[in-house]
């Protein structure tokens, strides 16, 4: 077969492969997240975000954005929730926390570790979701009453994920 003049081959770089494998791990952790029974809608450990944090600290912010967006779409496909309200909430939370992680780069790494990033990103995730719910799903201010209890779970989840991710980064740096 003759080659078409418009045919292009894309070369996947080593970083592309790393991003793909981190995204795959994130999707797997996303399945674990979905399988854990939750007492309240919105309460989730968010284990998949460990991979976002790991990508952020080993490959940089752009890689973290890729890993997260691939994870949100991939988990949506696997759970059958693609383009449902739950999917948009997950995307909204992910984008809010990615923006905050981008802004977190101004924090000096001498004083602030990955745990800070995780804690702040967890709250940004919650705020992004609540904002989306308030604007589109339940346009009534009473929804904001959910903020304190959810913020508490986000704090605990953010702390746990931050600690796990920083263990992973340390183990990775030793190799």
């Amino acid at each position: 077969m003759t080659r078409s003049p418009t045919e292009r081959t894309l070369q996947a770089s080593a970083d592309d492969h790393r991003i793909a494998s981190l995204a795959a791990l994130a999707i797997a952790l996303g399945m674990v997240d979905a399988a854990i029974p939750s007492p309240l809608p919105g309460v989730k450990p968010g284990l998949a975000n460990i991979m976002t944090l790991f990508a952020l600290h080993t490959l940089g912010w752009r890689a973290a954005v890729w890993v997260t967006l691939l994870r949100v779409v991939g988990a949506g496909l696997l759970l059958g929730s693609l383009f449902t309200p739950g999917f948009w909430l997950s995307l909204g939370g992910a984008l809010a926390s990615l923006l905050l992680l981008g802004a977190c780069r101004v924090l000096p790494s001498r004083h602030f570790s990955l745990v800070s990033h995780s804690l702040l990103a967890a709250q940004a995730h919650l705020l992004g979701q609540l904002l989306l719910v308030r604007l589109f799903l339940i346009p009534y201010d009473n929804i904001l009453l959910l903020f304190p209890p959810l913020a508490l779970t986000a704090l605990l989840g953010g702390l746990a994920n931050g600690l796990i991710a920083s263990h992973l980064v340390q183990a990775h740096d030793k190799d």
Binding site: H111, S113, V115, S116, L119, L120, L145, P148, A151
Partner: protein
């Protein structure tokens, strides 16, 4: 692994959380509806978030109940001393205005007072 700034972030978020829960406690004490009673028995419950004028008919005449901006008051009443009208706007859960001669009263209720309907 834990650095000084991390404790700072954790502390700040904890403080924020305490403030948020305190606000929640205050919000729970807010009134959400008006209970209108005639002859001592409840006739109607009106939500505070909708502005409206409700008229109750008592033995002396009409009592006008006004709801505006999350507050309620007796706007007009045929009672001779006008005590319930002079009470002005009611804002908090548990606030009561009673027009005794016309046998009409209003009481503001919040989520906490509504508890008995859940228990039974």
């Amino acid at each position: 692994m834990f650095k000084a700034g991390d404790y700072l972030v954790l502390l700040a978020l904890c403080a924020l959380l305490v403030v948020a829960f305190l606000q929640l406690g205050r919000h729970a004490g807010e009134a959400s509806e008006v209970i209108v009673r005639q002859n001592g028995s409840e006739t109607v419950r009106l939500p505070l978030r909708l502005n409206r004028l409700h008229v109750a008919r008592g033995p002396l005449g009409l009592t006008e109940i006004e709801i505006r901006d999350g507050q309620a008051r007796i706007r007009r009443d045929p009672s001779p001393r006008q005590y319930c009208v002079q009470q002005g706007w009611l804002r908090h859960s548990g606030d009561i205005a009673v027009c005794l001669p016309n046998r009409v009263s209003i009481e503001l209720a919040g989520p906490r007072l509504a508890h008995d309907s859940l228990a039974y």
